[in-house]
Amino acid sequence: MLKSLAALTAALLLAGCTAAPAAPTASTAPTSSVGSSSQSPSAGPTATPEPTPSASLLVVEVSLKGGKTTPNGDRLTATKGTILRLEITSDHDDEVHVHGYDVEIPVTAGTTVKKEITLDQVGRFEIESHEPALTIVQLVVS
């Protein structure tokens, strides 16, 4: 931060505006960077038998290992009504907190915990682990 202060100043003053179109490409597309997540138009095979016809499923595989998280704070976008399925594997006991929805998911070491949440509120929500406190995903529902 500090070392690039001068550069940032210049960027803010001069290049900030012209650089605007490039800004979105600076970060990787959320879905590809998560890798193991997939968004299918119809409900996945293990989903409840009769979801609303239009509901799509967003699967996010989360791995908490050695104090690191994958995905690592990526931004995911979803439309309202999507069903989010978290599949969490951890090497320690932890808690995953989906803010805004106020869902707490207890996680036990060595097992995979699955949790489905219907994304019925719009906004930006963080999905966080607690031990240590890490942002796994920033979820944008619109």
């Binding site: 100043t9 800004a23 963080e126 406190a133």
Partner: protein
Amino acid sequence: MTPLLVPLHGLGSRQDLPLPLPAAVGAAVLVLLLSFAVLALAWREPRWDGVAGGRALPGLTRLVDARWFRGIVAALGVFAFTWVGAALWFGRDRVTNPVFGFTYVWLWVGLVPLSLLFGPLYRLANPLGRLARLLQLAGLPAGGLRPLSRETWKRLGAFPAAVGLLGFSWLELVQPDNNTLAVLQGWWLALVGAVIGGTVLFGRRWVAAADPFQAYAVLVSRASPWQRVDGVVHLVNPLRHLSTARTPAGTWAVVAVLLGGTAFDGFTSTSWWVRTTQSSGLPRELWGTLGLLGMVALITLTFALGVRGIGRLRPAGPLNLLAASVIPIVIGYAVAHYLSLLVLEGQRTLINLSDPLGLGWNAFGTAELGISPLWLDTPVVTSTVQLLAIVGGHVIGVLVAHELALRVLPVGRRLTGQVPLLLVMIGYTCGGLLLLFSP
């Protein structure tokens, strides 16, 4: 970082903008340039030249100066802080404790609309001010035990409050356990200690110089339509208010901390920041502390560069004078970043306030209320409000800067002298929009 607060920061995203981000940024820049062009042609002489004025309201003045009115506002303040203080010391250490929402949302965010609409009411409601008065009534000399000279007070200005505001920004944005009672108790103890301790030493005037919330409220109230002129409350043009209000020494530091803090808050929710800080071996608090200080330094540096065109920085006269033009930008940033937080978490706080100790009370009948998203479940409305707040704040900033610059610039340099500050404000606009809306 702050489970209670972070989820709702900056609702809406790039995708929800009514127009693509580059177009929004381009339009914002164009609006600023056009405003300046119009000013250059149509606003050639200082309009108010530092003279406050408007419509005198003697009736309203009598009302707000009446003992009973001041008593009621002060009593409300004392009651609110006592209620929340009970939650702070005797409540349960969980997110439903209303002290968190009261401190971070009602007070920190709510002060902005309150002071913008009603002026510096917080000065009356601030229980620390009442406590300082009590100390005086109990025999503390007016100037405290170690009176300061007039000159020292003048130099001190708002600097102590700027330090307090930086401390609060650090608590809100960096401190990892800021949603625990122990940390919040520590903060409030430190704040009350600093304000009341200073009052004992230097007298009652210290409260206005050092209380960060009061300083923030007073700063924002300079953009309100209410201004005292020769003791009488006037209904005034907020532009005139901004360009005629007294800005004490250190006002530049206050606006830099506020603007830098909000910008840093936006910066920490970019995925770049999250990824980088989480992948590094360094502790988050270190990143956060350096990031916050860096952002405040960046704002200070750019603002000083912009003001250089208008006058020499020493003495700091032009810095403080022109700081008034940053006030609407601070307000615009606050609205863009925190309005959704105020609406949603503000309602949650109202619900929690009925049960301060976690005993199942429903003292105000609000415990069973639900949270209405109002307009916030329409993302395009949210983003449009954010966009307008940022751009509107800067346009007003440019107007006020123009009026102030005309007052101090020699006739030959009236336009060229303003160009650096204009560029800085354009930079702030772009930066603000990119922080809010880029991924």
